[in-house]
């Protein structure tokens, strides 16, 4: 299992399109992927679940990944968040 912390850096936060990109990327891996905070971890492959986090810019989220491709999943998802979900700011 890999546990890491990721910071939401894009201006609009984890809004619908960002949540959709995250879930789409997560769904490409066979590992179990959870994202959330101390109170609640949710299924990282579900757009609806990721959206429930309401994570604005500056929020630090916990990522928890378990499975045979956990390392690749962790690095791609971290990169997606770091790169502003492909948004300009």
């Amino acid at each position: 299992m890999i546990r890491s912390k990721i910071k939401i850096v894009n201006k609009l936060g984890l809004h619908a399109r960002a949540a959709a990109k995250f879930a789409k990327c997560a769904s490409r891996f066979s590992s179990t992927i959870e994202i959330g905070n101390k109170e609640r971890m949710v299924d990282g492959k579900s757009i609806m679940s990721v959206m429930t986090l309401a994570a604005g810019r500056g929020t630090i989220l916990q990522l928890s990944i378990t499975g045979s491709d956990e390392e690749a999943a962790n690095s791609e998802l971290t990169e997606l968040v770091k790169s502003y979900f492909g948004e300009k700011d």
């Binding site: 609009l12 619908a16 399109r17 757009i47 609806m48 679940s49 959206m51 309401a54 604005g56």
Partner: protein, 151 residues
């Protein structure tokens, strides 16, 4: 009180609207926003919804979509809840067509508000009973009662 009671009205709850395409449905949704709220431009909402949709589907899966956009003439978040008489393709990641929609418009600077609304709406739509009850409702009034009173 839930998020729908803050965002929709009976007039902005639409029962089994018809339309075979996203565009036609967006036209109906956009006009519902300006019903009784004359400051809201139907054209601006329609174009905003279309433009947002071009960036990626607002379909959430499980037959639900949340078309949304930021609107200049909008001073507070507003929503329109709608069911469709025929399900339509919405390019959802789960491949399922959509027959339940919640359209949302927010002011340009409403970042955290927007995230909080999406979060509350998603929490309701991921409950199968909630969607099931809305789909079997017999009128817009019934849909309005179900959605605004759901705990």
């Amino acid at each position: 009180m839930n998020i729908f009671s803050e965002l929709i009205t009976p007039e902005r709850t639409l029962f089994k609207i018809s339309g075979r395409s996203k565009k036609r449905i967006f036209e109906v949704l956009a006009s519902a926003f300006s019903l009784g709220v004359t400051e809201i431009s139907t054209k601006e909402v329609y174009e905003g919804l279309l433009e947002r949709e071009r960036l990626g589907s607002t379909g959430l899966g499980m037959g639900v979509a949340i078309p949304h956009c930021r609107v200049e003439s909008c001073i507070a978040p507003m929503g329109v809840l709608a069911s469709l008489d025929h399900e339509i393709d919405f390019d959802c990641s789960d491949g399922h067509p959509v027959n339940l929609l919640f359209a949302l418009i927010v002011p340009y600077d409403a970042h955290q508000d927007h995230l909080d609304i999406l979060s509350e709406v998603a929490k309701l739509f991921c409950q199968e009973n909630f969607c099931g009850d809305l789909r079997t409702a017999k009128s817009s009034l019934e849909m309005h009662l179900i959605s605004t009173n759901w705990k």
